[in-house]
């Protein structure tokens, strides 16, 4: 069985690498399409981590929801964003570069002093019990019902907001 332990370790680090590489690609790449694909890689990596943690249900839902979402972001990005020959210009040049670095360092150090250095990073309590869909469903709809409902209210608000924002642009065009 020790083989499985090693395999799981290797898989874990591979997934972490995928997640970080995707994140860096999402932030650093100049073209919008590459950035969104980096985001997709990150989301796949996170899905893999869920799988590694023993919740294939969550992993599959992550893929199912976010792949569709990423596709739509790409479509919107291509329609609204720049063409490949007008790449995003760097705004970190000359005097702004050290200033930006200083600002980042200040933020990080103050956060580090204030919170991170004082936090005790203890691993999460191992949750025993089955991670089947029944278990997840019962917990979501009984014990954590309020959080679940609040999230759906937020989604509803977002949908209504999107409709209200989009409707202005279509007036007079509908036939």
């Amino acid at each position: 069985m020790i083989v499985y332990r090693y395999l799981a370790e290797v898989l874990f680090y591979a997934l972490v690498c995928l997640t970080f590489a995707g994140g860096i690609m999402a932030v650093r790449s100049k073209m919008l399409m590459h950035a969104v694909l980096g985001l997709a890689a990150t989301l796949f990596g996170v899905a893999g981590l869920y799988f590694h943690l023993g919740s294939p249900f969550l992993a599959m839902m992550q893929i199912l929801i976010y792949v569709g979402a990423v596709c739509i972001i790409i479509v919107l990005g291509v329609m609204l964003g720049n063409t490949p020959d007008q790449l995003a210009a760097k705004n970190l040049t000359g005097r702004s570069l050290p200033l930006a670095l200083l600002a980042c360092a200040t933020g990080f150090i103050s956060l580090f002093v204030a919170t991170i250095s004082r936090t005790e990073f203890s691993p999460a309590k191992e949750k025993v019990g089955d991670m089947s869909i029944e278990f997840v469903g019962e917990n979501l709809l009984l014990q954590y019902c309020l959080a679940f409902e609040l999230i759906s209210v937020i989604l509803l608000t977002a949908i209504i907001g999107a409709i209200i924002l989009a409707r202005g642009g279509r007036e007079g065009k509908t036939s």
Binding site: P56, F57, C71
Partner: protein
């Protein structure tokens, strides 16, 4: 050595699953490629491929060899890495759903309790591949095709999921084996005919086939999202498409046509697979039939049909199912 023996059963299982998956993907593509061209020919009152072998049975083998020999052309201004990535991304995920499909009550890779979710999640990656391929070709026809594929697939996913969900409410499980077991007296096509019809329409759109083949409408967009692809990178898209057809038809068989249930044949323990494949290929025949019979719809008709008819009907069907399940 002991470690090796301890993982040997799993290892054998994995190897067998991988080999069978590959065999299904490639064998299915051969059969379907030949069947499609032959059926298309006969529907249009012409013989179809006739030259290579008896009635052209080796045509697909020869075509495969030809495609393998072709140069992989990358357009000059294309985004090279993404252009090469897209066919792989369209082809690779089709192996995983084959693991959870119950070909008979004894032939199944793994019986997961989230079987349906695995299939749906990995099927959606195909859409991402189409989009990447269409965008990275740097060709307006490819881009139009990819955009149409996205709006069509995102829309038709909803009635597809809702119609399957009404079955899930009746069986109380996502496991495909459980769904098959739940239809031992009557198949769900009898109880849920509307859901079956909606699912059937939705899979035609999901697999981008005529009359809903707007992403590759050859009279408008040359070849849609794979306009710039040649040789094997093109055939990976085609292989992926046929494997996806196989998967969605298998899901239809499992959910509505009783999976592998049928008259047990004498002296053959695994006879379920014969019935299963028979049902799957009947559905595929149906898809080919309507592809070569009906003309292409217009894009606004396609979207209106989904949002104004299929989704309301599938929602009503779902609500009625839920109420009936609660009452009975």
């Amino acid at each position: 050595m002991e470690i090796f023996y301890s993982i040997l059963p799993d290892l054998i299982r994995m190897v067998v699953c991988a080999v069978c998956g590959a065999a299904i993907v490639f064998g299915n593509a051969l059969v379907m490629g030949y069947a499609e061209r032959k059926l298309a020919g006969h529907i249009m009152l012409r013989p179809g491929p006739m030259e290579v072998g008896f009635h052209g049975v080796y045509q697909l083998v020869v075509d495969g060899l030809k495609l393998m020999g072709k140069q992989l052309v990358v357009p000059k201004n294309a985004d090279r890495p993404l252009f090469m990535l897209a066919p792989l991304l369209a082809f690779a995920p089709v192996f995983v759903p084959l693991l959870v499909i119950p070909f008979s009550d004894k032939i199944q890779g793994f019986d997961l309790d989230i079987g349906l979710l695995v299939i749906l999640a990995l099927a959606s990656i195909n859409l991402l591949a189409i989009l990447i391929g269409g965008w990275s070709s740097n060709n307006k026809y490819s881009l139009f095709g990819a955009f149409r594929a996205v709006s069509q697939n995102v829309a038709y996913e909803i009635p597809m999921l809702l119609s399957l969900l009404s079955i899930i409410f009746m069986t109380n499980t996502f496991s495909l084996k459980g769904v098959v077991a739940a239809q031992s007296p009557v198949w769900f096509i009898v109880i849920q005919p509307l859901a079956f019809l909606i699912y059937l329409v939705a899979i035609v759109a999901e697999t981008n086939r005529a009359p809903f083949d707007l992403p590759e409408a050859e009279s408008e967009l040359t070849a849609g999202f794979h306009t710039e692809y040649a040789g094997m990178s093109f055939s990976l898209f085609v292989l992926g498409e046929y494997a996806n057809m196989f998967i969605v038809c298998s899901v239809a068989t499992v959910f509505f046509l009783g999976g592998s249930s049928g008259i047990p044949l004498p002296y053959f323990e695994y006879s379920g697979i014969i019935w299963f494949l028979l049902k799957v290929y009947l559905l595929m025949f149906f898809l080919i039939w309507i592809r070569w019979t009906y003309p292409r719809t217009r894009f606004d008709q396609l979207m209106n049909f989904c949002w104004k008819y299929l989704i309301p009907f599938s929602l009503v069907n779902l609500i009625i199912t839920v109420v009936m399940v609660k009452l009975l």
